[in-house]
């Protein structure tokens, strides 16, 4: 039997999907800041589409992460697939709340609450990506040996 290796990073498709919330939540945060500085409504509209896009791709990421977490032997909340899933799930739920917040009219579409939610979503997306990619290119573990 030829030696196999366990892949520790994400499936490439999963990684591509994850890149959408990683890019779009910070984009929404930037346009939120632009709106709060200018009261120019187009920036709020841009945030709303960015958050919606992050949620659409983030939903698939969250489902994928949940499946990975359930199939993993490592159930620790402090590392690995479970921590990754918790971060992605929190990002998505807060993102949904943020989408509803942004659907309010004029200044209420952002305000202090919307800005805080955008900051949290951005931080969670970046943290999830950090966890997911931290091992990339670092190690391969020979199969059949204790990890």
């Amino acid at each position: 039997m030829p030696p196999r290796t366990l892949r520790t990073g994400l499936h490439p498709v999963h990684a591509i999907l994850l890149s959408f919330p990683v890019a779009l939540f910070p984009a929404g945060l930037a346009s939120d800041i632009a709106y709060l500085n200018s009261a120019e409504i187009q920036w709020s509209n841009l945030s709303q589409w960015a958050i919606t896009g992050a949620l659409i791709f983030g939903a698939i990421v969250a489902i994928w992460a949940a499946i990975d977490a359930l199939r993993s032997r490592d159930r620790s909340l402090h590392r690995g697939p479970m921590l990754y899933f918790v971060l992605v799930a929190a990002m998505w739920v807060l993102g949904l709340i943020n989408a509803f917040k942004h659907s309010q009219d004029a200044w209420s579409s952002v305000g202090t609450t919307g800005l805080l939610l955008s900051i949290l979503c951005t931080a969670l997306a970046l943290a999830a990506a950090w966890i997911a990619h931290a091992d990339a290119g670092r190690t391969t573990v020979p199969a059949g040996e204790p990890a």
């Binding site: 409504i41 709020s44 709340i97 200044w107």
Partner: protein, 441 residues
């Protein structure tokens, strides 16, 4: 109950804000209660899904009879009675507001579930029921090829039609049953960019020298940006002879029907107020339209009550805002107004105004969906608003939604345009009048 309620369970479970219930807040009359602003994370959207009349009729008070004068119209809105008694009905649906954000797509779809699926007629229909039996002997397409016509007025041999983008004048000869579209003269263009609130209401001054056009706002509360609100949420006064116009009143969010008060000869309006700050905010209202007045939109409501949503803030504008005269109820969507004078209807309906209420979407217990009566004394509202025509809602479903209301004193008939069942209803006193009714001045 099949009424549709759109909520997101996750968001509600997290309950960042309360929403829904309207409790027992008095939101009608000259001094309505104005509770604290409630902004819910998910807007409360409750639409009464349409149901057919199946031969049933709306409910009218004892002593009155209602009949469907015409059915199968193509979205009837406002009406006008010509001097010979012919009834004109404006039919159409306007607006071309682009969907700028995800909410526009979702909310637009949900609200459409409560509307007719019929395509707007973009025309005027003429109904002639000379013998008054409730069945028109003549029904013709009076003017075709219009663009979402709404407001109608007749002055001195000229018919005025307010399309969603222009005010047109047509020459009229007594008894005509059709007018070629090509005879129109454009009196003036009307603001039509975006046209979020597209209806252009219309009334002629008592002396016939002026025309008033109600022009609604381009957003709920400025969320499409204030640049496109130039000459929106205003009433224009147009000189009939020269076409010159001035902004007669402003900050008047969506003046959906205009009428001349027969006791004072002043201009009155019903106005639709803003959404998404709670089930009891902000009451739609009936008001005299004061020349030069500013009614607050978007920065404040019911006078100087600050709305936190529009930015930049404009305390200078809020300082100018005046309160309207009479609250009709929050979210009732008042779209019709007509006065009754000289005791024309008798018995409890002597002097006052009928108000057509299209019905709510932004509260959990439906409001409106009826024609109400506001009694007047000395030319001003005096007393509680009462239901006049009801029965449009049954088991949470809407069989009809009233829009325009027009009272015709010589025949003592109240006409009601219903843009859901595409019907014109006619309400008349059941008994013959004791004496010929005097026409209001």
């Amino acid at each position: 109950m099949t009424a549709l309620r759109w909520t997101a369970a996750t968001a509600l479970a997290l309950s960042l804000a309360a929403c829904g219930g309207s409790d027992a807040v008095r939101d009608t009359g000259p001094n309505p209660e104005l509770p604290a602003i409630q902004q819910s994370l998910v807007p409360t959207i409750k639409i009464a899904s349409p149901a057919g009349w199946e031969g049933a009729l709306p409910t009218v008070p004892d002593g009155f009879t209602i009949v469907p004068l015409a059915t199968d119209l193509r979205i009837p809105r406002q009406m006008l009675v010509l001097p010979n008694g012919d009834l004109l009905v404006a039919e159409g649906r306007g607006g071309n507001a682009p969907k700028l954000r995800p909410k526009d797509v979702i909310a637009g779809y949900i609200k459409a579930l409560g509307n007719t699926q019929v395509e707007g007629g973009d025309r005027l229909t003429l109904l002639r029921d000379a013998d008054g039996d409730g069945t028109p002997e003549v029904r013709t397409v009076f003017i075709d090829g219009l663009d979402a016509p709404y407001g109608l007025a007749f002055v001195d041999g000229a018919l005025y039609v307010a399309n969603q983008d222009a005010l047109l004048r047509f020459p009229y000869t007594d008894g005509q049953t059709a007018i070629p579209r090509s005879t129109a003269v454009e009196v003036t263009k009307l603001p039509s960019q975006v046209n979020h609130h597209w209806t252009k209401s219309l009334a002629a001054s008592a002396d016939g020298t002026k025309l008033y056009v109600g022009i609604g706002s381009n957003s709920n509360v400025g969320e499409r940006g204030m640049a496109i609100e130039e000459e929106r949420a205003v009433v224009w006064e147009i000189d009939r002879a020269t076409g010159a116009r001035r902004t007669y009143a402003s900050g008047i969010r969506n003046p959906t029907a205009l009428a001349i008060n027969p006791w004072t000869n002043g201009l009155w309006a019903v106005v639709n107020e803003r959404d998404e700050i709670g089930p009891n905010l902000v009451p739609d209202y009936l008001t005299s339209v004061q020349p030069g007045a500013f009614y607050g939109w978007p920065w404040s409501y019911w006078g100087k009550n600050v709305d936190p949503r529009p930015r930049p803030e404009r305390p200078d504008m809020i300082a100018r805002a005046i309160a309207p005269d009479y609250a009709l109820g929050a979210h009732v969507a008042a779209l019709g107004l007509t006065f009754v004078g000289n005791g024309a209807l008798g018995a409890g309906y002597g002097d006052g105004a009928f108000v057509g209420q299209h019905g709510s979407w932004n509260r959990s217990d439906l409001s409106g969906y009826k024609v109400s009566w506001v009694p007047f004394a000395n030319g001003r509202p005096a007393g509680e608003q009462q239901d006049f025509v009801t029965g449009f809602l049954v088991d949470g479903k809407a069989r009809g939604r009233p829009v325009g209301v027009t009272f015709h004193a010589p025949t003592r008939a109240l006409y009601i345009a219903d843009d859901l069942s595409n019907t014109i209803w006619r309400v008349t006193p059941s008994a013959a009048p004791q004496a010929p009714a005097a026409a209001p001045s």
